[in-house]
Symmetry: none
Subunit: 402 residues, 2 copies
């Protein structure tokens, strides 16, 4: 990994444009030993042509054998050390609903749950209440909880899940969680994990006490559980690090939110993959770096739906000529991690990547797929190296030393 301080000192500005097209969970596995992966199965003449004239490899978001979440894998794609810059779950959840976090804010993931007359938990998810109920209860908590000196936000997510955001000076998220992860016991009180977090623990316990009273007559959602306390990470922006004006095109708010954490502008992106390509065309003149995120490759992978994952890849391939017609200087096509339909989950397998520019060194790869990429000239490499490579191919890095 190139040290950020070294890289930043080499950055020069020019008018080149870089596109990073991320198919979420792209990497896959064959469903049977002699089979092909999702990407190998998909008919992708446009990506194959780019692979033939560009160069290929496979990246590891975190390290060998490590299965990444979406937060760290995206940070790595954007060139940020994903271990050093960990994003707390509360922040990810807030970012996922487009909540505009400020540096003061502390966020936590909340569940509505059910407790019995003795205060013991009988259902950690309150029977997965409908989202409408979650919305009503969240609004009720937000309206009725009063903590002096603290602004409280209770934002519904989906079913039993909500986000709690406290806004006040000097909040410290070094707090224990209240979910005991078992039934028949009461929720745990929040405890400070460091002396500096004592006041914050008192504030959160006060929120919980008020929530218990306010929800007492509700059923089944008559209590809350909180975990993943976290504050907005203060990351230097991609503009500061790489001198690029960066935009995110992502239909799902969490990915837009992740991109905003590194200083990208979130663009209106529509609902379909085609909409996203339209957003790219419409905003082409205004940015240097575009992150375009396709979600459904991952969703179908998580569902174990091999064939639909294949068809999303083919849909992207058919849209690719629209991207290439814009004449980007550098195109990177990859995923943020693997989500093989076989495993129905994220996995540790390295992620296929192709890089195309007028000054890349072509290798012998002729198609875009896991096995083909293994023979590519980029080899298997850490995801944090993608940005330096993209910048070099955009001629945005000057020489190191004389």
């Amino acid at each position: 990994m190139v040290e950020q301080s070294l890289l930043q000192g080499l950055v020069v500005k020019n008018t080149t444009k870089i596109v990073m097209l991320v198919m979420d969970g792209l990497g896959g596995l064959p469903m049977q030993p002699d089979g092909l992966t999702e990407l190998e199965t998909a008919r992708t003449p446009n990506m194959d042509a780019l692979a033939a004239s560009g160069q290929c490899g496979l990246h590891e978001p975190i390290g060998p054998g490590i299965t990444p979440g979406s937060g760290p894998s995206h940070l790595a794609l954007f060139g940020y050390d994903p271990v050093e810059c960990e994003i707390g779950r509360g922040v990810l959840e807030a970012v996922g609903i487009d909540f505009p976090l400020t540096p003061q804010d502390m966020a936590a993931r909340g569940n509505f749950c059910t407790i019995d007359a003795q205060g013991n938990i009988t259902d950690r998810r309150a029977g997965r209440i409908p989202t409408e109920v979650c919305q009503r209860l969240s609004a009720k908590l937000q309206a009725e909880v009063k903590i002096p000196g603290v602004q409280v936000f209770v934002e519904p997510v989906k079913e039993h899940r909500f986000v709690l955001v406290l806004r006040a000076a000097d909040l410290d998220p070094a707090l224990s969680e209240t979910d005991p992860q078992m039934l028949g016991v009461p929720p745990l009180p929040v405890k400070p994990l460091e002396p500096a977090a004592e006041r914050t623990a008192e504030l959160v316990n006060e929120f919980i006490a008020q929530a218990r009273r306010i929800l007492a007559n509700e059923h089944p959602a008559n209590m809350v559980l909180l975990r993943g306390f976290a504050k907005h990470p203060t990351l230097s922006s991609m503009t500061e690090r790489y001198g690029v004006k960066a935009a995110a095109i992502a239909a799902y708010p969490m990915y837009r939110g992740l991109a905003k954490l590194v200083g990208m502008t979130g663009l209106p992106s529509g609902n379909t993959v085609a909409d996203e390509f339209t957003a790219l065309e419409q905003n082409w003149a205004d940015y240097d770096f575009f992150y375009l995120h396709v979600k459904k490759t991952d969703s179908y992978g998580e569902d174990g739906d091999f064939n639909h994952k294949v068809s999303i890849i083919e849909e992207v391939d058919q849209l690719l000529p629209r991207l290439m017609a814009l004449k980007p200087d550098v195109v990177v096509i990859t995923g943020d991690h693997s989500t093989p339909a076989l495993l129905k989950s994220h996995s540790w397998h390295p992620v296929p990547l192709l890089l195309h520019s007028a000054v890349c060194r072509p290798d012998r790869t002729k198609t875009f797929g896991e096995r083909a990429c293994t023979e590519g000239s980029l080899g298997v490499f850490p995801a944090v190296n993608i940005m330096p490579l993209a910048l070099a191919n955009a001629l945005r890095l000057t020489k190191f030393g004389a």
Copy 2:
């Protein structure tokens, strides 16, 4: 990267001989999308034979995407961390004219420039005066500047460029530069960037004041600009690190100078590549490690002259049997960085490398070229790993641990 302390503890001495043949800027690119690189185009039957019986790969001098200068790329070839051991511009310039720097010396790059009656710069390069004028003015400054307690050297380079070397105890190069990089303003005074550099700043300002008086009646070169203040880096020698007696065969002084910084003996090397091979033959008995540097692959790359770069590679290939006739135990053939004729500059692209010894593990590579090396068993790897590999193949490293 193997820690130097670990490596050094494993070094054993024997009588094996290692040759590192460096074709400067070897790595290249095709001139058109479907084309071959310079090395792939060159007819290299002797290197191909070595590739077939040896092993291949590509090295990255600094890191992915980073384009190296000659200083750091050579340090990496010699096994020194090129980021940690950065060499200042003044030192590189001094080394480039074969000036024998001592650890006391502080060197700077100088320009003769033109100032008007108000002292404002009207030409930062004094109209690129002929080298003969530079020689006369340098000699004049050297003869007439007197600073008590300091030995002053003013060494001409080429056209308007000279090297200033101050020799005294406790000089500190943490100094600001005097070149304002613009016209119509006076040269800047040197300022200490750290308190310890205050006295050195005074000495340099005294040099500048005297130079201004001495040059007052010259035209157009009536003033000096100074930048890149640096001291000789104190690097442990290759003998200390690797137990080898090392010699440098390099027609260009800068590369001989770089080799001397790591303790190599600079051998008289003639003017042609054939002369360099003669120097190798004549000194074969006296050293364990030979660094043989071919400059013109880089020069033609910088000129954008694909065909001449190809012919230099072919010239080296034709001379290779003279090297192999000496029966070296380990031969490494590579470049210090890529200089594709397409880009007319150094670049970040990994550099082809072949390693040959009686005990290397042959791979399937049959020719020496960028794409062939991609499939070699060494993969893409950091340049600092070359020396440990060469030493291992020379059986000069003992076992780590029991």
